[in-house]
C-alpha cells in the first residue's frame, strides 16, 4: 500500500534535467518503494512535458526560480550554472508530506532506501570535497513553512558561501558535523561517482553497499560519453553503464507511453 505521508522529491529546473529526473524515478520504482515520487519543475517545463512526467511521478509541482546570482563564488566552483539551485529550498514547502528524501536529478538508486525515512531532519552524507560539509544531492528533511522562510531569509541576507544550494544548506544546518550518527548518512547513500577513481580500493571493497550513485560535475550521463580522460578513470564507465541500463529499462517499460516518445525525440 502506498504511504501517502512520505515522498521522494527531485527537481528539474529546466528541460536539460528532465531525463535525469525520469530515470531517477524509474530507478526508485525498480526498488519497489511504497513512497510517493514528486518532481519540482521550473517555469520552462511545458504542460505537455508535465503530463508525460506523471507517467512515472505521482506529483509534479511548479516552482518559481530562485537564483543566488553570486557570480564570483560560483566561478571559484567553476560551475556558473548552479546559481539557480537555490530553488531547491522550495522542497520545504511540500507540507502535505510529513517527511521527505530529496534526491538530485543526477542520481540513481540501486537498492531500496526507504529506511532513510526513519532518519531525523537533517540527515545527509559527507561531501568528498570538504567532508565537514555535507553533499546536498541527497538529504532527509521535514517540510515546514518556517524552515522554508528561514532558508529564504538566509539566502537573501547572507547568500551562500559557494554560490549554490550546498553552501546555503550547510550554513543553515551548520551543526550537522557535530550531531549524532543518525544525522550522518553513509557515503554509500550518496556515492559521488568521482570517488570510484579517487580511492579505487575503497570503491572495490564497498561497492556492494552503494545504494545511491550521484553523477556530480558538469558532465551528466545523459550528455553522452564522458570526456576521454574521465572515461578512462577506474569505475567511471561501469557507473555510466548503470545509468544507461536504467534509462533503457525505463524506455522498455514505457514503450507505448508519452515518455518513450519524449526520450526518443519523436
Amino acid at each position: 500500500m502506498q504511504d501517502e505521508t512520505r515522498a521522494y522529491v527531485t527537481l528539474a529546473l529546466n528541460e536539460k534535467y528532465v531525463i535525469g529526473a525520469l530515470v531517477l524515478a524509474h530507478s526508485l520504482h525498480q526498488t519497489r518503494t511504497n513512497k510517493r515520487l514528486v518532481c519540482l519543475v521550473g517555469p520552462d517545463i511545458t504542460d505537455e512535458r508535465k503530463m508525460q512526467m506523471l507517467d512515472v511521478f505521482d506529483d509534479v509541482v511548479d516552482v518559481s526560480l530562485y537564483s543566488s546570482g553570486d557570480v564570483s563564488r560560483l566561478e571559484l566552483l567553476q560551475r556558473p550554472e548552479l546559481g539557480v539551485t537555490f530553488t531547491k529550498i522550495q522542497a520545504w514547502r511540500l507540507e502535505r508530506y510529513e517527511k521527505c528524501v530529496f534526491l538530485d536529478a543526477d542520481t540513481i538508486v540501486l537498492q531500496n532506501i526507504d529506511d532513510l525515512f526513519d532518519r531525523p531532519e537533517f540527515a545527509a552524507a559527507p561531501d568528498i570535497g570538504w567532508p565537514d560539509c555535507f553533499n546536498s544531492g541527497v538529504f532527509v528533511f521535514k517540510p515546514s513553512h518556517e524552515t522554508f522562510s528561514a532558508l529564504s531569509k538566509l539566502a537573501n541576507e547572507k547568500g551562500s558561501f559557494d554560490g549554490g544550494d550546498q553552501g546555503l544548506l550547510n550554513q543553515y544546518f551548520s551543526s550537522w558535523r557535530t550531531q549524532g550518527p543518525e544525522h550522518r548518512l553513509p557515503f554509500t547513500d550518496n556515492m559521488t561517482a568521482n570517488a570510484a577513481y579517487g580511492y579505487a580500493p575503497a570503491f572495490e571493497r564497498f561497492r556492494d553497499r552503494i545504494r545511491v550513485v550521484h553523477f556530480i560535475g558538469a558532465h551528466k550521463p545523459w550528455m553522452g560519453a564522458p570526456p576521454q580522460t574521465t572515461a578512462q578513470m577506474h569505475g567511471i564507465q561501469q557507473l555510466h553503464d548503470l545509468w544507461w541500463s536504467t534509462h533503457d529499462d525505463l524506455l522498455k517499460h514505457s514503450s507505448d507511453s508519452a515518455i518513450y516518445r519524449y526520450a526518443m525525440g519523436i
Copy 2:
C-alpha cells in the same frame, strides 16, 4: 610543565621522511604544546641522525619494518611504496604513554591541538577519497599491547584492503563511521592539501579553522616545487609556502645545532 603521560608520535621509516618529521616537530613546538614529541624510526636511520633528531624530539624509538607486500592493491592505489606503512601500528607499543596523537611526517600543525588528547580512542577525520573511511594520517589512540597484537594478527591474516596502513586501520576500527561525534575529528584537523582546490569555496570559508595540513600523495613539500599542473591549483602554493616557512624557522632556531648542518647538507 611537561605532561609525561601524553605524546605526539610520528614516523620516519627512512631518510626520505626525516626532514618531514623534524619540520612537524618544530611546528608542534611553535604551538607551545606541553606534550612529549616522539619519533619512531626505521632501521636505516643512523645513530648520528637519531642524535640530531633529539634536538627537537623528546624521544626517538627504533622500530622494525613491517610490510604488507600487497603489490596488486597498492597498484590500484598507485602508491607501491606504501606497503611499509604497516610499521605505523607499532605506535600502539608505546605503553609508557597513556594517550597519544599520531601525525604522519607529511603534516604540519598550525594551531595548538592539545585538546585532541581529550578525545577517546579511536578518533580520526574522514578521508576525502571515501569519507566512510577515516584518513590514517592523524589519529588519537591509546597505546596497548593487546591492540598492537590484534592489529598484527589482522595484518597477517587478512591484510589490508588498500595494501597500506589506512586500509588496515579502517578494517580494525570499522565502527568509526557509526560512533558518536567525539570519535570524528573535524576535517580541519587533518586537512589534506588537495581539498584546497577540490572545493575551493569551502577552503576559503574555513581556512582559519585549519589546525593540521596533510600533504598526501607521492609529492611531498621537501621534494621541491610541486608538478606544474598541481602548483597552479587553488591554494596549493600557499600551503607549500607554509611548510617551507616552518622549515626555514626550524633552521633559524637551530643554526648552531646538528639539525642545521643536516638540513643544509653540510
